[in-house]
Symmetry: C2
Subunit: 394 residues, 2 copies
Amino acid sequence: MPALPTLPALPPPALPGQPLRAVDTPALVLDLDAFARNLERMQSACDRAGVQLRPHAKAHKCPDIALAQVARGAVGICCQKVSEALPFVAAGIRDLHVSNQVVGGSKLALLAALARHAHLSVCVDDARQVEALAEACATAGSRLSVLVEIDIGQGRCGVADGTAALRLVEAIDRHPQLVFRGLQAYHGGIQHLRGHGERREAAARAAQRTAAALRILQGAGVRSEVVTGGGTGSVEFDLASGVYTELQPGSYVFMDADYGRNQGAAAADGLRFEHSLFLAATVMSVAAASRAEPRVIVDAGLKSVATDSGLPLPWRDGARDGRLDYLAANDEHGIVAPAAGAGAGADALPALGEQMLLVPGHCDPTLNLYETLVTVRGGTVAGLWPVAARGHSR
Amino acid sequence: MPALPTLPALPPPALPGQPLRAVDTPALVLDLDAFARNLERMQSACDRAGVQLRPHAKAHKCPDIALAQVARGAVGICCQKVSEALPFVAAGIRDLHVSNQVVGGSKLALLAALARHAHLSVCVDDARQVEALAEACATAGSRLSVLVEIDIGQGRCGVADGTAALRLVEAIDRHPQLVFRGLQAYHGGIQHLRGHGERREAAARAAQRTAAALRILQGAGVRSEVVTGGGTGSVEFDLASGVYTELQPGSYVFMDADYGRNQGAAAADGLRFEHSLFLAATVMSVAAASRAEPRVIVDAGLKSVATDSGLPLPWRDGARDGRLDYLAANDEHGIVAPAAGAGAGADALPALGEQMLLVPGHCDPTLNLYETLVTVRGGTVAGLWPVAARGHSR
């Protein structure tokens, strides 16, 4: 019997130098020019305001992107989970803030071990978390910076006010291996308010709560070296608030369809970001293209794009393709139809085998589906960037 | 300067022999006893009806599970994408049906190469797909079985009727490297109709369309050796329809909260499946537990559980924990509150550090978030099963 041929390996989604249309789909594509402009705009805005930028790596999970952010002036990065920080430390990022509470022995041991390799800070909102951090650091022989998280209106994590924060500062100060650095004050809900005015007012209320907590700490002689928070949707208000020393936006790198629905300021303020992230999909069935409800089927569904903040938007020649809608996502199928009310008919539908680009509804969980980001410049594949922290939710 | 210590590695989520409560969260946990009962029930029902079982591996993406299904009598498995098939072929599965259209040179080359290692079949709904399959097989020196997909009401993939199917059979027959095997007739929408009666009626209409297409093929002297389709929600009707030779359910292995909302038959028919898949999460903040809207925060959000078909349901002592609701998923946070209208107050909330089990809303995209499935028997970790096809959407 002849020997069996070697089992084929899964080829990469693309090779440098290939045209974008040759990328094996579904794939996540990063437009390097738009990406670079987004990075510059955010860094410049922070520099002008004298506020430090610590971008949130939960949006991209990609060490190549973190290194590009730090190279442009970011002081470090945020991670949301301890395991998420690991590939960034391995890639050489030396200042990381875990913008979250860390509970559980395995996570605490990893955090304390990582603190021997990089400057790491973490949030607390309970005295028992402080004791557990101190114990893990004592065991590992490491030191951690600690930020007290205050709830400025989201009702998620964070102590209620400055008085409660003060009690945690006192708990932190009892442990020489823990260093109180300041406050985290983040309100995720503000980021996605659509109106520019309502975002401004909500951000102002949140900043007032942060300022009130800071006054209580100052009154007790406690200095908060860092006040960190903010996101892509509120960054213009956060920069002007006078409260934050550091901002942690993430999505500005990519812009997703959800953030795209936010209403910008009337005046151009230099803080507009561009869509740089695209889902490349291929039409794999046109059997229903000429029926009463014309549609084509693309090879990207729920497993290729997050739909929690809306379905992806068809994109063509640098703008929303208004002739088409992505109607529904099944596990591995996407249904694309002529846009309702756009006067488009079946002739607007792409052909069998044609590649479509789509703007994901929500970038963070979409990145979390992929091992690889295909970078593109001028319609040609530039390289492959590992999404090294994909799935690192522990 | 002393040498830096070695960078720690990410530890596995659990070790065999540990108690379930020691699993590092978020983690996906499989109850092996419930899992085995689900496999037995489905295989027995198919055996009784004389219908072959070809479970859909898109639900689990896990070779250990596929091997268990085949060991109990499944004729092989379904995959939804070519790349998804690869780890199953590598694990020794020898009969795989790609229940989808395959378009694109890279995918076709991989499919044709895999066909040298295992029996592979694939769907078509366009003559151009037939020509491309023939060319890929000619290049690879392999043979493929081909099924014509017919649309039985979903309006997704599949030709409209038997006459259109017949034209594709003729196209397939022109290529010696392609073998026509029969029809795929699947209607995903039926699976999630809640009422038992409406599911029965919709399945009956779909079976009638399949039977009509088969009559046209038979009239032209074409034998369909295989008629494949069906899913967990319609399997009892599909088994009794007399139309299908083979069924492709996937979710029965796990049962998710969405399928759990389907209304069963009035009479016990042996086709009830149990929840065997759980999301283990840990309470990491209780700062808001004693406020006006009491809640605790768990460490599992959008990146740890798919929410497209509803939020996960709290589970305790073998049943839905009616005192608690999982209210909302942020990227890495889950908000848990006393269940609305259940008369439960803040005292029902779990404590800081406590582990919660949750039934995922939709199993398929949830499995696609994890590298590893933690298997548990009687509250003790039994092992770790790789979710080897995770992310294999190409």
